[in-house]
Subunit: 402 residues, 4 copies
């Protein structure tokens, strides 16, 4: 267990923090204003400016190990992702490390054919296009991929897709050009070999974006929203299949580990932002004749928040270190642990920061309410907490055979 | 402690439930659709239809005791308000029992001059206009009325108002014709005699509605939103003052008790709706080969929810009975108790109902996320929980003099 | 729902409170001292003195409705039981309302033969002897009576008992003269008709009291402890059977309802005692230059405690009223609800009162730690909370058939 | 942040685990039996046997860095202390790493004169005698050393001690030969220079052990209990002073850091023991026709426990690493954090393990109830959680000057 920040990490942290201070935080009010006035489903123009600046500075594709990306380990990326979590609407996109593109690039990088990589991975890595990942379905408990109902059927040189997806993040962004769709090619096969993933370009006939799903009152339009999509005899060439038929479950598993840890890293940053805002509010707001920083209950919130976030960060770092050293499979329990612990604890911290802000805390005047909605949703995304706890408990119990 | 439902209450409950079943619940999807398409700051047309139907049926002004209203006691009104809480965007407005009109009508009924009652109370009781209550301020802890910074200064036959308010619910609804504004007429007077309330008609020069405050992404546009308002030399005739100069604090106190219990009554109804939705989801959704109703964790949520809501209802009913028998002052501790207990417990129940729904739970496809945001906000409205706990504890401690 | 305190109740409350003030509270330190010095498994002598005084004053057998007892309703008894909960080692025994005698007297009163009532009920009602109820078994989940493993077999004019019981409260008190033992007379019968109850006098050959079970270090010796008992061919005459063969399950059900509500009533009193002690400590203990009563966190505990106990009391009173008006069966959900809610909430209140007392709070210098251990144990006694929640949830879910 | 286990640590872990398996766990039932039969204030004979065996194996004085002890770093000791926490009545004493001796040896090692070290440190290091640390007082909030009321007055060549202490662990063990007493030599001096520490041998005239304080129902007699002690003109030679006059506060601070982390390390081990027992119970106990390991609620407890204990361990390891690398002062926030987080979380885990065991969980048949009482008490020992949270919050807030 060696998970300090090495020199490379410290250097990048310095550069990233400088970028945050000089460009990202000042862009936040601009972003809010442009958002209120512009296209409801696209990132406001300031985001493109931030991307250009970040790229110029070499702050780019940190998430991707190996030759296609920045070549960082998970442990090196973790503290950088944390920093971007402090401004989650701007910073991850600015440095081309935003979900779901990150996971999609990983998939293409690991499993894509040369042609697929050239056509889709390259422009994604360049930040020229965006992408979506269509797995979740409204009618089944699709956190278990075996329940997927969407069909992908071979028909001559094509595959034909039929089914219904929802909460497909980013799909309504016109820059989102490519969809990775999960479906069943062999519904009667062995449970973990029934699924395949396939590439569906935007505007393919038969694919209808029906509406944007809300998250509490937010549309998340700047991220392209969360779409409900119908696939009605959508036909794509057979070479759009990613990897081999029946490989979808394995690809999904490979994709989820990094996705989960990235979310948790950023949540740590959100928590730090919340603590900072809570403290600033506490020292500046007066009630009953003294700053609320002197109220015992507020102090209790701050201390608890600090103690909780320290524990979460260590667990996330250990998980990153394990993924680097023994692989995602070996870090399975830890990945599940951070997925269970982080969203709900950060939600708690955000709740307290909101409460310290009074009515302003639930409004658009601080980022807190929006961050809260995001943290809350992560208790459900990629499978509800309860599913992960059940699975983790069963592994713990398996140590004690009757 | 006798707080069963008497015959009159049971009769009205029957009538109100019939109205809910026949008209309100079926109107919910219509409301959502009209909302998405229409004026962002007005109730959709279906609300006016519901009002007409409710009025025709005599389901009207239940909240107001005495001759001006339906003449019900708090104890009689409580179970009716609970029922309306099951569809809080539609039902309270439909029967003309929606905040902040209810509190404003109470104020006018108790403290308004004959002229004020004629001009504003009558059309409010008829449901012809809406109103707002401008007390909360962005820059001070205005849950303590002594902190109010807005100035109301006498100038000849007029009063001139300067200050800033926010979270003024309903203000952006064009039907909102009258504002009750709280400010200081005598900033150097005795702390509880510095404040006055005054009537400011919509479109009075100098009053600028700057923007709508959001609540977890929601604008609550159908209720006229929550406005930030600037008062810049707003001039109204002296007879617009409600009651006497320096009486504002007392009026605010008189207004808050019923306001708080109404909120809590409706929260009980929201909790019941949440339990109903959670159960329906649990019996119909399958995961791991069986309905999630058979999952122990889901059963735990349902049992806890039922046990908590039963306790809350009894405390609310006791409070209503006390207000009826010993007056709002005598029910002070209980009013504070329900304000402390109800929003946070109902928030918990809503959270579990959301979790049981998976991703759909945070979306617009169930009322749960919106109800959650409302319950969460009530932990801050009318003073954060912490202020009420502090006050209640001090009274408890005062029983034990050193 | 009418559950105020009627005149009879108020009169008895006055008398009981006077008895508490004059005799019970002053006896507490005497009790502690005698306990440290005397027989480890008997109530100290001061208890007998209190019993004599209580009886003289007519404060006796309040728990028992009907002609054999004081003839109070559950609703009348509830506030009296609450008062006794304030000094639970002394007061319930003093007025002959202590478990498990109460339940045993109910059983004998309802189901006992004339002979059984004469021999055992009469001296119990007189407070001359004590009794035990042997149901719980170490090796099975005996909160479900269908799991009972103890055998009761007919052999000529006798029954022969074999099995193992534990946590049999009061058994080691030499005044405990009679045991009601639950076992199976017909293990192959219909699940709810397999069990019978039978009377076993102390010192019947074959019954061995093996040891006293501890509860968080406490032996509860003043109550006769909690025994582990072996029954090895214990032979009693056939007329010792209570009611009919196969009636044991029904008798157990009849016994549990009142038992649970009595526990909850007393828990309310314990919570009130805890709040009182917490407040007294808070106003008298200084830290950081001021009484800890001025610490926001301590105020938060006090307010939460008050708000929670008010809700619990109302739910308990409603349950009592329901039992009086629609019977124990009709109050099933409410009895389960108070069993779920009361111990865990009172445990929370006691924990906070302990914390406010510092190290002294965990010691013998306040009653708090002992009360805590009792409340904690009630989350397990008569079936763990989880079993009751599961059952309650299933009834709630049954309202929504697929 | 490098806190893996190095080779030396792994080697010692192997040896210590072997010792636990071969000697300690098998000794637990022996210990319980000897305890029930022997001297109520001494460790049962089996403890001395374990000590002899441990010493023979070189498993000894791990806690003490530097030449006097085993020379381990905090980071090396942490995982060993964790292992001893699995059997906290036996293992820490067996390897001569039990509080309060550990802290006392540290004090003597760092601040003792040559004579003091020879007379007291040597036999303590040899495990020949035990010791006590007399700081806590009943009448003041003595977690703040500035409140200490005990007086230490110079009188010629002696010091004379007057005052009252309580919860002095180990004091009633006849093997406890030496007391380190904290008191004020200069009550009018600078607040942090008023206190001194002084050595008081057992049986010094004027020192009266009045009684043993209980912890819930436990006397902790095997550890020598927790004494209330009166010092009435207790006279010791001036050379018994530890360090210099006025140095008591600094010595106390130096002592507390390691003491706190040792407690937390052992708590981690207790949590692991609890999880193990909970799992074993879950797979072996049947209710409703299946092992309770299949109950969702039980799985939830197990998963939560695992996730929490992983976070706690990492925070404790980081703290140990910091103490080793930047010193106790530099690890101040982390020491406070583990003190805040560990006892309450481990208490939660123990509570769930108890609940999974049913009635047996609160009894002497598992170590769980005793461990619970210990964890609960650590929320108060060395200052209640609230004091530490307040202090930590103030440092966090100090980052944001107005």
């Amino acid at each position: 267990m060696h998970f300090g920040y090495d020199d490379r990490t410290e250097e990048l942290r310095g550069q990233l923090n400088a970028f945050m201070d000089e460009f990202v935080y000042p862009a936040e009010p601009v972003f809010e204003q442009q958002l209120a006035e512009g296209d409801p489903w696209s990132p406001p123009p300031v985001v493109a400016e931030l991307k250009a600046e970040a790229r110029k500075r070499g702050l780019w594709n940190f998430f991707l190990p190996g030759e296609h990306g920045a070549g960082l380990t998970n442990l090196q990326y973790a503290p950088l992702a944390e920093i971007t979590g402090r401004s989650p609407h701007l910073a991850p996109t600015a440095i081309n490390c935003a979900a779901p593109d990150t996971g999609n690039m990983e998939v293409l990088s690991m499993f894509g054919s040369e042609q697929q990589r050239k056509q889709w991975l390259t422009p994604l890595l360049e930040g020229e296009i965006r992408s979506a990942f269509a797995m979740t379905e409204p009618d089944v408990a699709s956190s278990d991929a075996r329940n997927i109902a969407t069909r992908i059927e071979r028909d001559g040189g094509d595959y034909v897709i039929n089914g219904k997806k929802w909460f497909i993040s980013g799909a309504m962004n016109p820059h989102c050009r490519i969809f990775i769709v999960m479906g069943k090619t062999d519904p009667d096969g062995e449970p973990h070999r029934q699924q395949s993933m396939i590439l569906v370009p935007r505007d393919t006939p038969g694919m209808t974006i029906k509406r944007g799903m809300h998250v509490f009152g937010y549309t998340d339009g700047d991220h392209g929203g969360h779409a409900e999509i119908e696939f009605d005899d959508v036909r794509v060439p057979a070479e759009n299949l990613i990897g081999e038929e029946g490989g979808g479950f394995a690809v999904a598993q490979a994709r989820l580990g990094p996705g989960r840890i990235h979310h948790c890293m950023r949540l740590i940053g959100m928590a730090e932002r919340a603590i900072e805002l809570m403290c600033k509010r506490a020292v500046s707001r007066t009630a009953f004749g003294k700053p609320i920083a002197q109220q015992g209950v507020v102090q209790d919130w701050i201390a608890e928040s600090r103690v909780r976030v320290e524990q979460l960060r260590l667990l996330v770092l250990k998980t990153a270190w394990l993924m680097d050293t023994v692989g995602n499979q070996g870090a399975h329990t830890e990945i599940q642990s951070i997925k269970i612990a982080t969203p709900i604890q950060v939600e708690w911290i955000l709740d307290k920061a909101i409460q310290a802000h009074g009515a302003g805390g639930v409004s658009q005047d601080t980022p807190l309410a929006g961050l809260w909605a995001h943290a809350r949703t992560l208790r459900l995304a990629d499978g509800p907490d309860e599913v992960h706890k059940r699975s983790l408990a069963r592994r713990e119990l398996a140590k004690y055979p009757r």
